[in-house]
């Protein structure tokens, strides 16, 4: 912790603050590692359960799931645009794209719930077939992680509203959750692409 003079805000030096940010990103990275292992285990269970039994029956899935997929991919791109704009101190642009991200994120979550309803309407529930069980559980667990991501992004969004260009502290307060949230969100978007491929092409 050398650099103690420049950029004093939030009661800590710039070096301390960067160190802190690095730690938080490290923590997020580890968390994503555990989520990877979680879904890795679900995937191997999916393969084993499908291969070892006669009762596996693929259930139909609504085609609008692909629109959901598009929504989360675009939300991820929008978030990246917002994050980069924030990195260049362009807070208006960041705020706009963050708004787009949040809207698309909600669309995705709503779309996932609509998929559940579509299945329920077709008389398909969790126990109907192993494929259905996996669909509900995987989307559910993925959805819970998304809700956590949404909380982080909403915090970022709220803080973006009150960024004061002359106050580096307010900018940093907004950028940090945006950057952490981006790690999480990009990961979850990629995870969803993987999941939908597994659930449809390998049904």
């Amino acid at each position: 912790m050398t650099d103690t003079t420049i950029d004093q805000f939030e009661g800590v030096s710039r070096a301390d603050r960067q160190h802190r940010d690095y730690q938080l990103h490290l923590g997020m990275g580890m968390f994503l590692g555990t989520v990877t292992m979680l879904f890795g285990a679900f995937s191997s269970a999916y393969i084993v359960r499908g291969a070892t039994s006669q009762d596996w029956q693929a259930v139909p899935l609504p085609s609008f799931l692909w629109w959901n997929t598009l929504a989360i991919i675009v939300s991820s791109v929008a978030l990246e645009v917002a994050r980069r704009a924030g990195g260049q101190d362009n807070w208006r642009r960041a705020g706009m794209w963050m708004g787009a991200t949040l809207v698309l994120a909600m669309l995705f979550l709503g779309g996932q719930f609509a998929a559940w309803q579509w299945l329920w309407a077709a008389g398909i529930g969790v126990p109907t077939s192993p494929h259905a069980s996996f669909f509900f559980i995987l989307t559910g667990v993925h959805g819970l992680h998304l809700v956590a991501g949404l909380v982080v992004l909403s915090v970022a969004g709220l803080r973006l509203l009150s960024v004061d260009a002359n106050d580096p502290a307010s900018a940093h307060r907004a950028y940090l959750p945006m950057s952490l949230g981006a790690m999480l969100w990009h990961f979850l978007a990629a995870l969803w692409v993987y999941l939908i491929i597994m659930l449809t092409l390998f049904a």
């Binding site: 912790m1 730690q23 590692g33 285990a41 191997s44 359960r49 192993p130 667990v141």
Partner: protein, 580 residues
């Protein structure tokens, strides 16, 4: 960092890693008392299966109807004993407890990387322990499907009484445990990566820190799959799914038609955690050995680098050998051969670690005190238990030995011996740092000898009972003609087990008494080299008054040109030459 003043913030909802560490240690020992009492009930039953116990009937009317233990309670007792000892005793005291206490101090940090997460981890951990204990009091009693929770026993609520609410509570408690343990693991990894003092390169870290680091990484990788399995099991129990329930299953003569799941799938997912978990527990004990030993041999340890690499390799291999718990599950012989081979491969790094321990002892003039004695006991148990592992790791031999008392003997020497001796050594060694007082030495020695002799008598004998074919998890052997011969052995084991249990009271007394009345300790009573000994006992909030600077490796004992026979990691090269 400013120090909190109120009692609540200082001792209850504390963010200080040392307080949290001690909280974990105390919680773990309380759980050990519960787990230990259960084991005595188990031994009472196995040693004297036909005797009546009216006192126990008064105490536990449901479990001891008309004075004899019910078979259902026996299963619940075995399940809860295993669960509590592995997850709530050793994990809490050795891994979360000492991990919290030692890692920041030994890397020269003022605290863990995420203090708030750390506090949360403890309180969730405490909650999970409480929930686990509550399982005894729910309808049907505690879970009874073994610490491995194999379905269908764990999946069908009507299978045995403990398969009902007790099993659900077990799963919930484990879920909380995993959350708490993951938080601690993330903290350890982040602390090692980002909080090391200046000069503390990875290759200057004490092996204690290395072992906690590797153990934490393994835990982070291995626990999530158990979470996935637990979620699926909960759905099998309450959501009508059939992940683990096979077709054509019948319980109590009644066909349960839920469909073609695979109980083997659970076994794979469980052991993918279960095997790494035993390494998560034993690695810290091995690492601690290398740091306590030189304080009593007064010479550098043998093979620091090769031990680091061996622990890393053992940790990695530990993630891919889980199938050796399933040799008799009907897996293809080729798969079995692979798991045999991988398991026997692990014995190489493990043996190297053992050789390095012996090499560290070579030619030393031992000046022993209790911590050192427990370390010697640990090394001996590590050898004996590992020797039994060799038999089990061989699929051909394991087909005979699986699910016998040979396995019970093996893992008690390892998980119950090595890790518990490591944890005792750690308590005796770091107690002066934690409380500023020494533990009583004569009491410690009696505790050591009683424990060592007791462990060997109990668990070595179990190996032989197993070789005679006595299966584990049986409530009574009285009705099997071929096992009549083991009745005396069982009585002998149970008798020793009670003495062994009584000897642990010495330890608990010593701990409680010394915390208040023990002899005052200096800052560095063992004349050891790692950073925690450079600060007062107990260390102040924030640990180091000034950020420490590290100049050397942690094993500079009997160096040339020093006034004393050791040089701490903070001593610079101008007084004592730096060797590593």
């Amino acid at each position: 960092m400013s120090e909190p003043q109120s009692f609540i913030r200082k001792c209850v909802f504390s963010l200080d890693h040392k307080v949290i560490g001690i909280q974990y240690i105390v919680t773990g020992f309380v759980m050990a008392i519960v787990g230990g009492l259960l084991s005595l009930l188990i031994r009472l039953q196995l040693g004297w299966p036909t005797t009546l116990w009216p006192i126990l009937e008064t105490l536990m009317p449901n479990a001891y109807q008309s004075g004899v233990m019910s078979p259902e309670f026996y299963l619940a007792a075995v399940t809860m004993h295993g669960t509590i000892m592995a997850f709530f005793f050793v994990s809490y005291v050795l891994v979360s407890g000492f991990g919290n206490y030692l890692v920041p101090l030994q890397v020269g940090a003022k605290d863990m990387a995420f203090p708030l997460l750390n506090m949360l981890s403890y309180w969730i951990g405490l909650l999970s322990a409480i929930v686990m204990i509550l399982a005894f009091f729910v309808e049907g009693g505690a879970a009874a499907a073994g610490w491995t929770a194999y379905p269908p026993l764990s999946a069908i609520a009507t299978a045995v009484p403990g398969s009902g609410l007790g099993q659900t509570v077990w799963l919930l408690s484990m879920a909380l445990f995993i959350v708490s343990f993951t938080m601690t693991g993330m903290n350890v990894v982040a602390t090692v990566f980002s909080m090391r003092a200046k000069g503390m390169s990875m290759m200057r870290m004490p092996l204690t820190v290395w072992s906690y680091f590797i153990s934490a990484v393994m835990g982070l990788l291995a626990f999530p799959p158990l979470t996935a399995a637990a979620i699926m099991l909960l759905f099998d129990r309450h959501g009508g799914t059939a992940f683990f329930l096979p077709a054509g299953l019948s319980v109590g003569g009644q066909l349960i038609d839920v469909g073609g799941g695979s109980p083997l799938l659970w076994q794979h997912l469980f052991w993918f955690l279960g095997h790494p978990e035993v390494y998560v527990l034993i690695l810290p004990a091995l690492g601690i050995t290398f740091d306590i030993l030189p304080a009593f041999t007064r010479k550098p340890i043998f093979g620091y680098r090769i031990s680091v690499w061996s622990l890393i390799i053992a940790g990695f291999l530990g993630l891919i050998v889980w199938g050796h718990h399933m040799f008799v599950s009907g897996m293809s012989p080729f798969t079995g051969e692979y798991f045999s081979l991988a398991t026997l491969l692990i014995t190489i790094p493990m043996a190297i670690v053992g050789v390095c321990m012996l090499g560290s002892l070579w030619g030393a003039q031992l000046k022993m005190a209790t911590p050192g004695l427990f370390i010697l006991g640990l090394i001996s148990l590590f050898g004996t238990g590992g020797f039994g592992g060799l038999f089990l790791g061989n699929a051909t031999a394991d087909i005979q030995l699986h699910d016998t008392y040979f396995v019970v003997g093996h893992f008690h020497l390892m998980i119950g011996g090595v890790t518990v001796f490591g944890l005792f050594a750690a308590v005796y060694f770091w107690f002066p740092k934690m409380f500023g007082r020494m533990m009583n030495e004569p009491l410690g020695r009696v505790h050591f000898w009683a424990s060592t002799i007791g462990y060997y008598l109990v668990f070595l004998t179990q190996h032989f009972v197993g070789l005679r074919g006595a299966p584990r998890r049986y409530y009574s052997f009285a009705s099997y003609e071929y096992l009549e011969g083991i009745a005396t052995s069982n009585m002998f084991i149970s008798t020793v087990a009670f003495i062994l249990g009584a000897a642990q009271l010495l330890f608990l007394f010593n701990f409680a008494w010394s915390a208040f009345k023990g002899k005052r300790a200096e800052a560095n009573p063992w004349r050891a080299t790692t950073l925690e000994w450079t600060v007062p006992s107990p260390p102040p909030h924030g640990n180091f008054a000034e950020e420490p600077v590290v100049h050397r490796w942690p094993y500079e004992y009997s160096p040339d040109g020093a006034d004393e026979d050791f040089a701490g990691q903070e001593v610079d090269g101008s007084t004592v030459p730096v060797t590593a």
